[in-house]
Amino acid sequence: MEFPQPIALSDLKPGEAGRVESVDGDDALALRLRDLGFWPDTWVECVRRSPFGDPTQFRLRGYTLALRCDEALRVHVLRESD
């Protein structure tokens, strides 16, 4: 049986969703990500990318936010295929 590998949140394509596995680091960026609700097992969906390619709009915990690629890189998710 294969265990799905966690991918970076930034690798999630528009329309895909996943569950948070972990957030890297203990710096301001990581703390802020956790404050925003990126806790383990949180369901997060990639909504769309900006026309210029960055940032990306994500939906989680009933609200949406914009994350830059280097911010989303810190979050590891397990992709869920619907």
């Binding site: 301001a28 703390l31 802020r32 609700g37 900006s50 210029f52 709009q57 609200y63 949406t64 914009a66």
Partner: protein, 647 residues
């Protein structure tokens, strides 16, 4: 002692604390600076029965770990001093689990907590309701449902604040936000796509999104420039009448000139901006209140980041196209200090509305009509391009450092709160009046002094001689006499100005501007633009013998499509230097416009920069780099143009 009870409102940025504060307190809210910082908290007072309340709206926080100066100060207000009697956590019901996380970390601070559960309507729209009673029971903390938009539930909250009930500080360390949120939330099972999602589908469309945005921006600017005209007309008429009264009531002389040109003219130069600023702030506030601004930042973040700014720099920079002063004040929303300073320092390069009359005058006088639009656009683009370059360089040198975090919530689209909008417009307008007003006024008086004095008697005698001659020639008066006298008056004004202290200063520094093709009269114009850029117009009017051309009149008349009142344009075309050669040419006009585009001539802007950066370093830096760039630009244009044979 019926002392004042202090209640601090804390919560995340979009929880709705500001609207709530407005409903809680009937009186005006006062922004209060944290000592030694431009970060503000908003205080207001209220009375419940015998108890006086001091309500404090602290900057938004996300947890007990602070990431920006705003958050540090908010947290230290709670933990260090002055410790509030009660902390009211404003929570967004549509994000309950995240808010409970915040509540949990706040409980570790050991302060008495109360919850205001806000935005239940938004939660409903998203398809869920929260049982606030159950939440209160499970938490052991009083929970009050509130609606920051309508004011529902505020009375009960206020009563609680004023009551004698003692609230214990609880430790919620064992709280599991997700579980608790699930326990108190009921899913309404409405799975339809929300209005916000549908609107985002259009406004953030990969192809349509940017064009829609550009149209909106264009629309706002159109509104600012056309909507302001009738008000500017009123102000201009008022100014004219007042000046007429002064002229009628006083003998020509220092007092009359001081009142008419110095004071009324100075105040007029400030007031003429107000209609544009009000409309600008109104539009920005509305766009912000509906939630669209977050979308604009989402669209622009990448290109702006590439030059060292941030998506949040968009509003301050766009605002600066109308006036840099409110634009610079708007940089408070930029968390990262370096991004913020970079934005502040390049904001004055966005060609503000005061530069526009200068462009229009020079383009109209020296360039064919079919090129006009292109050149105007080029001047605006120049500012933008230079701003990108300066920001890029700054972020790699003086302001080198980590990039800001974006991590921006994109709120649900909602109807803006008119109270909040009104308050923002009032605050910004007042800030402009007070700050810009004093600076512009003071500088205008100084420039008046320098251009009025000295008043040598022999100049006056010389013209009196001419006036006598006219009277002798036309003993009955009449049209011809009036015209002749007016002409003498203009020549007299010109003669006085030409030997004024300001003119002497200009003649002294003339060599500096020679490589740009400016003669000393143009230099006087440049110097007199320092209080307010459009003052260059009346100055040029006088120096080139057209008489007292009013800056406000000029600005209004060009907006109305009548740009050559008083024939200033024609006069510029005929203007001569002291040696008889033409003072202007299309090339010189272009060099002058480039100078104006890049030069830091606005004292009000520099004052705003000092206030927002809390030091003299940045306004001095801005003044220096911009003026240097302006000089280099003007010289380059003139020298290269001359070499290419355009002189």
């Amino acid at each position: 002692m019926a002392g004042t009870k202090t209640i601090a409102l804390v919560g995340r940025q979009n929880a709705g604390k500001t609207s709530l504060l407005m409903h809680l307190s009937g009186t005006m809210q006062h922004p209060v600076n944290f000592p030694g910082s431009s970060v503000e908290r908003v205080e207001a007072s209220a009375t419940v029965g015998d108890t006086k309340l001091l309500l404090v709206d602290l900057p938004g926080i996300s947890s007990t770990s602070a990431v920006s100066p705003d958050e540090e100060l908010a947290l230290s207000y709670i933990t260090e001093g002055p410790r509030p009697d009660l902390v009211c956590v404003v929570m967004d019901a549509s994000k309950l689990s995240v808010e409970l996380g915040l509540l949990k970390s706040l409980s570790s601070l050991g302060v008495p907590l109360v919850c205001a559960l806000n935005k239940a309507d938004v939660a409903e729209q998203a398809g869920a309701t929260v049982d606030h009673t159950k939440l209160g029971e499970l938490l052991g903390v009083p929970v009050f449902p509130t609606n920051g938009a309508t004011g529902e539930g505020v009375a009960e909250l206020l009563d609680f604040f004023g009551s004698e009930e003692v609230v214990e500080a609880l430790d919620l360390g064992s709280l599991v936000p997700d579980e608790l949120a699930k326990q108190v939330t009921k899913d309404l099972g409405v799975a339809r796509q929300s209005l916000t999602e549908r609107m985002d589908g259009i406004l953030l469309h990969p192809i349509l999104g940017l064009p829609i945005f550009l149209i909106l921006v264009f629309g706002v600017f159109q509104l600012i420039f056309t909507g302001a005209v009738p008000f500017m007309d009123l102000i201009e008429d008022g100014q004219g009448s007042l000046q007429g009264l002064v002229a009628a009531g006083l003998e020509p002389g220092a007092l009359r000139s001081f009142l008419a040109d110095g004071i009324i003219g100075g105040v007029g130069a400030i007031l003429i901006f107000i209609p544009q600023i009000v409309i600008l702030i109104l539009c920005v506030s509305l766009l912000e209140g509906t939630g669209y601004m977050a979308r604009a930042a989402f669209l622009l973040d990448r290109p702006l980041s590439k030059v060292g700014l941030s998506g949040r720099s968009f509003v301050p920079l766009a605002s600066s196209f109308a006036c840099a002063v409110p634009g610079i004040l708007a940089t408070r929303t930029i968390e990262n200090e370096r991004d913020r300073i970079a934005t502040i320092v390049v904001a004055p390069l966005m060609s503000c509305s005061a530069r526009l009359p200068v462009y229009v005058l020079l383009i109209g006088a020296f360039f064919p009509v079919d090129q006009a639009g292109l050149i105007l656009l080029a001047m605006y683009m120049l500012g933008i391009v230079v701003a990108c370059a300066v920001s890029w360089i700054l972020r790699r040198t003086k302001l080198r450092g980590s990039q800001s975090l974006l991590m921006m919530e994109m709120p649900v689209y909602q109807k803006p709160s008119w109270r909040v909008v009104g308050s923002q417009v009032w605050t910004a307008t007042r800030a402009f009046l007070v700050m810009a007003g004093t600076v512009i006024f003071a500088t205008a008086i100084i420039i008046w002094l320098l251009s009025y004095y000295p008043r040598p008697a022999d100049v006056h005698e010389g013209f009196d001689f001419q006036r006598d001659h006219v009277e002798k020639r036309y003993p009955q008066g009449g049209e011809a006499a009036k015209k002749a006298l007016k002409k003498i008056e203009n020549l007299e004004s010109k003669a006085y100005r030409e030997q004024s202290y300001l003119a002497r200063m200009a003649k002294f520094i003339e060599p500096v501007f020679e490589p740009a093709g400016f003669d000393w009269r143009i230099t006087v114009g440049v110097l007199s633009a320092f209080p307010a850029r459009e003052l260059v117009i009346p100055t040029m009017g006088i120096l080139y013998g057209v008489g007292e051309t009013d800056a406000g009149t000029y600005q209004v008349s060009w907006l109305e499509g009548k740009p050559d009142r008083d024939g200033l344009r024609a006069r510029l075309q005929d203007a001569r230097r002291d040696d008889g050669t033409p003072a202007f040419s299309p090339l010189i006009a272009l060099a002058l416009m480039v100078f104006f585009a890049l030069c830091s001539q606005c004292m009000a802007t520099l004052a705003a920069i000092k206030r927002e950066t809390h030091s003299w370093k940045w306004p001095i830096f801005t003044f220096t780099y911009m003026t240097a760039l302006a000089w280099v630009g003007a010289v380059l244009v003139f020298q290269v143009g001359s070499a290419l044979g355009y002189a």
